[in-house]
């Protein structure tokens, strides 16, 4: 009797939990749907439409996607973005790991260094872009050139900016990973006579693979999604003026290309810009997931 009462009481508690649980989830789910799911679905729908304002979109099928793929500047910016993302991915992670490794060796004042290295990450991208453009041009004007005049300079300028901004952030993640490497493993390696290099490659790095995974993921997606730094530093300049008067914006990355397509051109291009944005999403999501799956495999369980 009392046992069945207990069961029904716990059942009713479970049921009431299920019922009220939905209410608890409500605000978050609503916000997520309003702020993300719905705009996302609408965005995909709009990429198949010709529209000036989102309220008067007209369905036109895949024409936008065909124009997007046929657009030279989009294809160019894809290649340029991929190059930027890969170069910055390698540089940021190698340097961030090196700095983190150095700062976990018990150097005096390492807390101060950590703070200093992290601080650039707190500055907004637009501000950074303008500050760095002043720094670069201050130097380059001595050579009668400017970051706006040379594609190579624009490329390396952006890489330097990205490294400067993101190394500190990745460093913090690596430091956390390095500090979590079990001391007994390191000690065992030492006792077994492993060199520093062997300890690093055979013990430390396999143990910080989770940090490497997350840092690679972040720097890869950051590289692909980069917008404000790109806009403020070069804005796509210099352009190659083709003989028919059309242009290829040689330092324009994907996000800026989409933005320029949407706003700078005539309004008939808005659907095309939207299609580019959907392609962009699929690309970034696909690459990010692939990279996650790949590096996850190399993580070790302690």
């Amino acid at each position: 009797m009392s046992a069945s009462k207990k069961i029904s009481a716990s059942n009713s508690r479970l049921r009431s939990l299920q019922r009220w649980g939905l209410l608890f989830l409500g605000p978050v789910v609503a916000a997520f749907i309003i702020g993300f799911v719905w705009p996302f679905i609408q965005g995909i729908y709009l990429s198949f439409c010709s529209f000036k304002l989102t309220s008067n979109a007209k369905f036109i099928g895949v024409a936008n996607y065909l124009s997007a793929f046929a657009d030279d500047s989009f294809r160019y910016s894809f290649g340029y973005t991929a190059l930027t993302a890969i170069v910055s991915l390698v540089l940021i992670n190698v340097i961030a790991f090196a700095v983190a490794y150095a700062l976990t060796q018990g150097i005096k004042g390492s807390n101060l260094y950590r703070t200093v290295f992290f601080m650039p990450n707190l500055i907004g991208g637009i501000v950074l872009g303008y500050i760095w453009s002043m720094i670069f041009d201050g130097i380059l004007s001595a050579y009668s050139t400017s970051i706006l005049l040379d594609t190579t300079l624009g490329f390396w300028g952006l890489i330097i900016l990205m490294c400067w901004q993101q190394i500190g952030y990745m460093m913090i993640i690596y430091i956390a990973g390095l500090q979590a490497v079990p001391e007994d493993m390191l000690e065992a390696a030492r006792i077994d006579g492993a060199t520093r290099w062997q300890t690093l490659t055979k013990v430390t790095i396999p143990n910080v693979m989770p940090s490497i995974t997350i840092c690679m993921f972040l720097s890869l997606t950051n590289g692909f999604k980069l917008f404000d730094q790109n806009l403020a530093l070069t804005g796509g300049l210099p352009y190659i003026i083709q003989s028919d008067g059309s242009t290829v914006n040689t330092t324009e990355m994907l996000a800026l290309n989409i933005y320029n397509t949407f706003y700078n051109s005539n309004t008939s291009m808005r659907g095309v810009a939207q299609a580019k944005a959907v392609i962009f999403f699929i690309l970034v999501a696909g690459l990010g997931l692939f990279q996650l799956a790949y590096t996850r495999k190399r993580e070790v369980q302690q």
Partner: protein
């Protein structure tokens, strides 16, 4: 246990209700604030006006006039939003999508008519159109609908500091054509060190200043070409570049006779307007909108035409036109359209309101509007009454204007870094072929 579950339940229920109420409160707050103000009476005017202003320098005046109007007509709600510099198109796009869209907005050029003409009410024979004292600044669409009407006009050319020119041993009256302009400018530049000032302010090519050459100076090429064609009434599909040499004449003169190395113009940041107001240079490519600022510090300045080496240019006047054109949103309710119309009429005819507008904008082409005090507009009128031809703003036809100008900036950057013929050929490609390409894109 039972009691506990009650409290928890009631707590959850209460919290849930509070959340929902909070969300509902958020969504309705904007509506309630707009309806709350329309309770008092005292006037037969009602409705709401939402003016999307595109001129940042007008914002302060516009906000004040809006509140003045609301205190005079308490049943009318006037809201003024000013788009940040260079973002008018973005702001208009998002605002027009809202249920409370702007009732009064700007369609400044033919590109705008193409994009937004469908949203504009036909202003033909309306109260505001009847007050216009010229039809020169009206824009029509292909069907003949009066889409937008000018609310002020501006003029530009080369602004010159006559006091400095005299102290260099010349006179502004000596400048009658390109040759005489070149003589004066090059002489001042040569003696800049002893004079203490230079000829041309830095013609920066960054986004804060590149319009001087990609928009305004370019007009001389379009204008003379337009004259050869017997006038344009719509955007031509291509241009010939007949007067590119003249554009180059004046561009070279401006960039090579200033205080800064031309190779630094791409980066910009020299603040040419301040150089001029501080008396460090004698010439600046600008126009009537700068008069209020300049006249605070430099009292003897005048605006002279773009002398560029074209035959008969002794008879040239200033470049006069406007991008300041009002359109009324056709999708607004009749009451709001009427309210907007009344508000516009008030802006151009009320003595205090039109005075405040004129102080910011220059001349307003309406009967009954206040007189202008703008020196450069006075110059423009004087040239015109002396029988000189006014150069209209053919620049307004630039197709896909942002993309077109961005390409031109890139080409000019390369040219100022290295003034070679090959680089000028690229400028010409961007200028002439770029027009046809952008036209084709815009009219695909």
């Amino acid at each position: 246990m039972f009691g506990k579950s009650i409290t928890r339940r009631s707590f959850i229920g209460g919290a849930g209700l509070a959340t929902i109420a909070g969300l509902a409160g958020c969504s309705s707050s904007s509506d309630s604030s707009s309806s709350a103000s329309s309770s008092a009476s005292g006037s037969d005017r009602k409705g709401s006006v939402y003016w999307l202003n595109f001129k940042p320098e007008l914002d302060e005046t516009a906000q004040k006039l809006a509140s003045d109007y609301m205190s005079a007509y308490p049943n009318v709600k006037v809201k003024v939003v000013t788009a940040a510099s260079g973002t008018y198109e973005q702001t208009l796009t998002s605002e027009m999508d809202k249920s409370a869209a702007p009732t009064l907005f700007v369609i400044g050029n033919q590109d705008g008519v193409k994009e937004w003409g469908d949203y504009a009410m036909d202003l033909k024979d309306t109260a505001i159109a009847k007050l216009l004292n010229t039809d020169e600044y009206d824009l029509y669409d292909a069907s003949g609908k009066l889409v937008s009407i000018g609310y002020c006009f501006e003029c530009y050319g080369i602004v010159a500091n006559s006091k400095l020119i005299e102290s260099a041993g010349h006179s502004l009256d000596d400048i009658k054509d390109f040759a005489s302009l070149k003589t004066v400018v090059e002489d001042i530049h040569k003696n800049a060190a002893t004079l203490g000032f230079d000829a041309f302010a830095a013609t920066d090519l960054d986004s804060s200043s590149s319009w001087r050459v990609t928009g305004h100076l370019a007009n001389l090429e379009y204008y003379y070409e337009e004259q050869d064609d017997g006038g344009w009434d719509k955007c031509p599909a291509s241009i010939k570049g007949t007067y590119m040499e003249n554009y180059k004449n004046l561009f070279d003169l401006a960039v090579n006779n200033g205080p800064v190395d031309p190779t630094t113009l791409a980066t910009g940041g020299h603040d040419p307007a301040t150089e001029f107001t501080d008396g460090k240079v004698a010439f600046l490519l600008t126009g009537s909108w700068d008069y209020a600022n300049i006249s605070k510090k430099q009292t003897e300045t005048h605006c002279i035409p773009y002398y560029c080496g074209v035959k008969g240019e002794e008879k040239a006047g200033l470049n006069c036109g406007t991008e300041n054109r009002w359109a009324i949103n056709d999708n607004a309710s009749d009451e709001d359209k009427q309210a907007t119309m009344d508000f516009m009429v008030w802006l151009v005819s009320d003595p205090d309101a039109s005075k405040a507008m004129v102080e910011q904008l220059g001349i307003m082409p309406y009967t009954g509007a206040a007189e202008s005090t703008n020196g450069y507009l006075t110059d423009a009128v004087k040239y015109s009454s002396d029988g000189c031809y006014t150069m209209d703003w053919a620049t307004n036809y630039q197709p896909n204007v942002d993309d077109y100008r961005a390409a031109l900036v890139s080409a000019l950057n390369a040219y100022t870094a290295d003034e070679s013929d090959a680089n000028w050929a690229l400028v010409k490609t961007a200028f002439v072929d770029g027009w046809a390409t952008q036209y084709a894109k815009a009219n695909a």
